[in-house]
Symmetry: C2
Subunit: 129 residues, 2 copies
């Protein structure tokens, strides 16, 4: 349900799974200290080898998105500490995309207009940063 595998995606399964879980934790769908599905349960649900799930969970732990306790399970970590780094990564990715604009004849006005068109929701109180 929460996790779905796209077999058309060329990325490795463990990366798809870890990325999907990262976003669920970032967005608060999985709250702080909430129990994640067990390695074996998720491997059953997705029909994927447990080792592959374990690898994905290892990435989550390593990147600070979860903490695991043998015998208990894996839990969502407090991601507020990761916010500055994630914002920096966001602007870096944004810059990489914007680099291509000039060669396409796309200007500042085009981009800003497009941005306003896409990001129009949930902006009642979030405009002050």
């Amino acid at each position: 349900m929460l996790i779905e595998i796209d077999f058309r995606d060329k990325r490795p399964l463990y990366e798809q799974i870890s990325d999907r879980l990262k976003r669920l934790i970032e967005q608060g769908v999985i709250g702080k200290d909430e129990l994640l599905p067990s390695v074996r349960a998720l491997s059953m649900e997705l029909s994927i080898n447990p080792n592959t799930i374990q690898k994905a969970y290892g990435v989550l732990d390593r990147d600070g998105y979860s903490y695991s306790v043998a015998g208990k399970g894996s839990f969502a970590a407090d991601v507020s500490a990761l916010l500055p780094a994630r914002r920096e990564a966001f602007y870096h990715e944004l810059d990489e995309v914007l680099k291509r604009a000039p060669a396409l004849g796309i200007g500042v006005a085009d981009v800003t207009e497009h941005v306003r068109g896409v990001m129009k929701k949930g902006e009642q109180y979030d405009t002050d940063h």
Copy 2:
């Protein structure tokens, strides 16, 4: 000179080479119908196997960035026909990045301001699209 390999990059060599050449052709550094370096010459210059260069050139041909003639060489194609598709791909990639903004507390104003800060050059005559 025009092409450089970054061995820290995890992407395959042939992809680095084809991407680099695509941008050179996109930006007009290599003009329409201009002769690209030969497979063997480029393999010597970069100290890379000719088969790897051939694979990169195959990608260029397949994606419409070049056309090759046995005995003569590979030439830059007319990329103007690719412009609409490239613009569409640009906005698609942009949207993918922007999706993450709300979860980071980054609003429209933040993004547009950042965009203006980054894309300030060459905007004297390109603002009308």
